[in-house]
């Protein structure tokens, strides 16, 4: 049996997206040993997936800083467990890897919320961020007909991106009403940077029909997506297309924080002004504390990084920018709140749990997430409720909150390793 290796850090950051990079760079300024662990091949997380260190973009700047400040990047490793206090276990293709830390910063980001509707399990129906990721990872979409749907600012960014990749974006369907949208737009007046982003998006999307109060009612096709039936202001229309990129805003990846004992409310990790969680050594920054986009993630990451190394002055300088961004995020999330009609989309035969093929009719009438798991296996498959649980919270009002290790499916050989101390002095003391 291979032995797990233990890597020690003063500050360990889980997640190499904007918040994680900002945290690592800020912590590294104190000259301490900083590590960033991420399950992707490189830095950037979701929003900056595939960005490189050698361009003029903001993403590139952060990747450059995170790669050159003496920070150790451990890529391709997924944290799955906490074998004992102060130790995280990661799984990789090369074998298990353990990490010890004095301070831990969790920057695990968010994932898309998926809602079921008839045909949503057909190949070529994917998330909005999902299709963007796949295109960034080599999927050719030139000349393909794409409908972008769901809710959230991500839809417009994805539509613009797909257009630039040569796709023919037929529609952008936003479930929020036009009125919610206009109220949100006036908020932009307080944030000049966001106005220029919005204007540039508008330009990229000129000519693409953008409908509000619109959503997909069904995806149709024989073994693969061939058309989508759209609902818009009570009228229905069937549109042929090659891809449906559909996601309903974001939900926090708070499974690891939960496992580590951080207090979580309604899925959001609770933090104080220093981005510290209810666990004294653990900080959390970015989407898991409240979906707020890149700017907020960068600010929160920096605050967490400074706070983790005791640089309170550095952290305090960012309190006001954080407050401003948080106000914007609150308004944004209110704008894209899900309308009740979306609960009526799945029919009785529509699959809700994709891993275990559990249809809606087997879930209606059950009283809780726990009952659903026990009676139907919903949420007991590989995704462990990351797709179906988030949908069930909206469809049925259940609280999906039980987390047990491993937080991701892991190989037995990963979980069964004893923590091996490389430092005999530390081993004698019995703790890190």
């Amino acid at each position: 049996m291979s032995e797990s290796v233990t890597k020690r850090f003063d500050v360990l950051v889980v997640g190499g997206g904007p918040a994680g990079m900002a945290a690592a760079v800020s912590a590294a300024q104190a000259g301490v040993r900083v590590g960033v662990v991420d399950d992707n091949a490189g830095l950037g997380g979701q929003i900056w997936r595939g960005e490189h260190a050698n361009s003029n973009s903001e993403a590139s700047g952060w990747i450059r800083k995170a790669s050159t400040s003496g920070i150790e990047l451990i890529a391709g490793v997924r944290v799955v467990d906490q074998p004992r206090a102060g130790v995280l276990r990661g799984e990789s293709l090369a074998g298990p890897l353990d990490f010890t830390y004095r301070k831990l910063i969790l920057a695990t980001g968010a994932r898309e919320r998926f809602l079921p509707f008839p045909g949503w399990t057909l190949p070529n129906v994917m998330g909005a961020g999902g299709l963007q990721s796949l295109v960034k990872c080599g999927l050719p979409v030139a000349g393909k007909r794409v409908i972008v749907a769901g809710t959230g600012p991500l839809l417009l960014a994805v539509a613009a991106f797909l257009r630039e990749a040569g796709a023919w974006v037929l529609f952008v369907l936003e479930q929020a009403s036009r009125m919610s949208f206009s109220r949100f737009a006036t908020r932009l007046l307080w944030h000049p940077r966001k106005i220029s982003q919005a204007l540039s998006l508008r330009k990229s999307l000129s000519g693409v029909p953008r409908l509000t109060s619109a959503w997909p009612v069904a995806a149709e096709g024989n073994g693969v997506l061939q058309s989508v039936t759209i609902s818009h202001r009570g009228r229905r229309k069937k549109v042929d297309c090659d891809y449906l990129a559909c996601g309903f805003h974001l939900v926090p990846n708070s499974e690891l924080p939960s496992l580590l004992g951080c207090r979580v409310r309604d899925g959001w990790v609770l933090v104080d002004d220093w981005q510290r969680t209810s666990q004294e050594q653990i900080f959390c920054a970015g989407e898991p504390t409240g979906v707020g986009g890149v700017e907020l993630a960068l600010i929160e990451g920096q605050i967490a990084g400074f706070a983790a190394v005791g640089d309170q002055e550095g952290a305090k300088k960012l309190f006001r920018p954080r407050a401003k961004q948080r106000a914007f995020s609150t308004a944004l999330n209110r704008t894209f709140a899900l309308r009740p009609e979306l609960r009526d989309l799945p029919q009785s035969q529509t699959i809700v749990c994709r891993c275990e093929d559990v249809p809606l009719e087997r879930l209606s009438g059950l009283r809780s997430w726990r009952e659903a798991k026990l009676q139907t296996r919903c949420g007991m498959g590989p995704c462990q409720g990351r797709v179906c649980g988030s949908a069930a919270e909206f469809l049925f009002g259940w609280t999906v909150d039980s987390v047990r290790p491993p937080v991701f499916p892991a190989q037995l050989s990963t979980l069964s390793q004893n923590v091996r101390e490389l430092d005999p002095v530390v081993a004698m003391r019995g703790e890190q």
Partner: protein, 81 residues
Amino acid sequence: MPEPISVLVNGSRVSVTPGTTAAVAIMIAGTPCRTSVHGEGRGPLCGMGICFECCAQIDGVKRLRSCQIICEPGMEISTNE
């Protein structure tokens, strides 16, 4: 323009640009990644390693999330589990 590399999907050669993930190679090959409990073909949904719809066998190792694995020349990707 970087030279395309060649991988095998269920024994058939697929040409992809460097940096392409195995999940995308499977999509380019025109086949679903996996089969559901009741026999339906499924493809990638989330593109970020949380939905597990893209699971495939890669170079002999089963149940890998193919959307997080970059293609290497000669990689053998199998969707027949």
